[in-house]
Amino acid sequence: MDDAELARAAAGGDPDAFGHLIDRCGLAARRAARAILRDDDDADDAVQEGMLAAWRAIERYDPERPFRPWLMRIVVNAALDARRRGKVRQAEPIVDTLESGGLGPDRMTEASLLRGKIDAGLAQLPERQRIALVLFDAEGWGHADIAVALGVPEGTVRSYVFHARRALRASLGTLAEAMK
């Protein structure tokens, strides 16, 4: 079943169908929320709040349109609302939570440096540029779907991605090349 069919089943009262949608979209939503809030717990709370809001409003979803941008817009709004309400904890570097992935000491140091630079690079980007970059490069979304998720024109999304990449390039410098 595709997303729209699952959403239709969920709207008909099938909680398992919505569970499948959570499995498909939950981690992308988490990455977007973490890009906005930059805190594990705040991001997880915002995603849960957004998912529950989507579950309650699932009857209003139009199956003729893509499901993920609709859901992501709700999650992004929940994260932005949490930011606006000041319901965010003190941001800590999220690099500490990552596993080494079996790298040697030198590579681990480089990887840690790279993660720190990515974190710093993301932190300096405006929120919407951050989300656009994550959805485009990490999730592989098209500009049109990102535009729906952010509620902005498609051209604005292209601009967001352009500026975000340029800023991140400046932050990462040559370190990424050294990692290859």
């Binding site: 909680p15 990455r31 973490r34 997880d44 690099v95 990552l98 994550v134 990490a138 990449r165 390039r169």
Partner: protein, 115 residues
């Protein structure tokens, strides 16, 4: 990593690094948490919105009605006992509509009866 901001295709290397950076710990546990939360949440409908809107207004209307009733009861209790003017109004109808002056004994009878 493709470092051209003009590339309209997703950058696989940058995407991989972003996913590693942002996925967070224990993804399966997180998804399980979301599923449990959704399973325990009530589904909403349009009546929920209406009832959310209606409840505070219903309470306000009930309080206002209670206050009006209390004010009415208080005002009724504060009304002076019926005086002569009121007694005049309760005179027999023919004394009002005939235009003739009421007979004195009829008038005094009405006053004594407290009409």
């Amino acid at each position: 990593m493709t470092m051209s901001p003009f590339d309209h295709q997703p950058d696989q290397e940058l995407g991989r690094m972003l996913r590693e950076q942002l996925t967070g710990p224990e993804p399966e546990a997180f998804l399980r948490r979301l599923r449990i939360a959704a399973a325990g949440a009530e589904r909403g409908d349009q009546w929920d919105v209406l009832s959310d809107w209606a409840q505070p207004r219903f309470m306000a209307m009930a309080i206002a009605a209670g206050m009006l009733f209390w004010l009415g009861a208080w005002a009724a209790g504060a009304v002076q006992p019926a005086g002569p003017g009121v007694a005049m109004a309760s005179l027999p109808a023919q004394t009002v509509v005939t235009g003739q002056a009421p007979a004195v004994d009829e008038f005094m009878l009405a006053m004594r009866e407290g009409r």
